[in-house]
């Protein structure tokens, strides 16, 4: 059951679509593609990661480097033809803007909800906290992977963030701004490294130390 008059909600939805449309070029230069046609109350965009994948394999220790006994040295290289997978961000603006937009991560080809094991990792970097993971695996209400970021419904309606209401921010935070934040933590800061270890493959996600 909706809590906002659908007519009001639709007007606000269309305002957000218009803003996205006006800044389409700015979004696309960041690898954000609004896909459509958008149908109330849904907005979908595909985000395309840009950083090349790095691979690290065990290698010989260079002669001029001293490593502790038992430690493994790695050689790393970028693979320019590979990157993390693109994903679809699906925003649901039901009850907008009494409630923040809800965000789901989907496969851009099949539209199937992504599972945490198949997803990239979103990381925010701040000087004080340093890098921290903001894509978490199990929301206590939806039991889906969720972005723990201000502006996203799953953040504001998480029991641990009951003191940081969306209503404190909604006047200063549009869907455009939320998508730019999503881009920062998923695309601009984050890059994967595949590490070959004797026990198998591991994907390590690192954040650029960029405030």
């Amino acid at each position: 059951m909706t809590r906002v008059d659908p007519t009001v909600c639709r007007i606000k939805y269309e305002r957000e679509i218009k803003r996205l449309s006006e800044h389409r070029a700015a979004l696309e230069t960041r690898g954000i593609f609004v896909v459509g046609p958008s149908e109330f109350p849904i907005v979908e965009c595909v985000l395309v990661p840009r950083y090349p994948l790095r691979m690290a394999i065990p290698g010989p220790v260079p002669l001029n480097v001293v490593v502790p006994a038992g430690a493994t040295a790695f050689q790393a290289a970028e693979i320019p033809s590979l990157a993390a997978r693109a994903f679809k961000a699906r925003f649901d603006l039901t009850d907008y803007d009494l409630r923040a937009p809800s965000l789901e991560f989907r496969d851009p080809w099949t539209d199937v909800l992504l599972t945490y094991a198949t997803m990239l990792r979103a990381i925010e970097y701040e000087h004080q906290r340093q890098a921290h993971l903001v894509l978490l695996d199990d929301h206590p209400v939806t039991h889906k992977p969720f972005l723990c970021l201000r502006g996203v419904r799953e953040y504001h309606e998480h029991p641990q963030h009951s003191g940081d209401s969306w209503l404190l921010y909604r006047a200063e935070m549009s869907l455009f701004a939320i998508i730019m934040s999503l881009w920062r933590v998923c695309i601009d800061l984050t890059r994967p490294t595949v590490i070959f270890q004797p026990t198998g493959l591991m994907v390590q996600w690192d954040a650029e130390a960029k405030a």
Binding site: A26, E124, A177
Partner: protein, 93 residues
């Protein structure tokens, strides 16, 4: 009179802040701290609900700009389009 000239016909330096997807053009002094232009942009766009310290400015490449520095020091050209948004607030681990 062209919009980028003042009443005496002198050239005026301006920046364009994109706030929540809407443009806000601000005439400013290129040798004054960027934070003055930010405060003006927030005021003129009606974004006064959160304190200015909670906002950040990034250029088109996503690079954070230091607000105590001046547009001249930051090598911002006239009409530069800057993204002014609330800082990313995150939970997470």
């Amino acid at each position: 009179m062209p919009k980028d000239k003042d009443r005496l016909g002198r050239h005026e330096f301006f920046l364009v802040f994109i706030i929540n997807g809407e443009d806000c053009k601000v005439v400013t002094d290129p040798t004054a701290p960027l934070k003055l232009a930010v405060a003006q942009a927030l005021r003129e766009s009606g974004n006064t609900g959160r304190p200015p310290e909670e906002w950040e400015v990034r250029d088109v490449h996503g690079v954070l700009l230091e607000q105590p520095r001046t547009p001249k020091e930051l090598q911002l050209h006239e009409g530069a389009r800057l993204f002014l948004s609330l800082k990313v607030g995150a939970g997470g681990v």
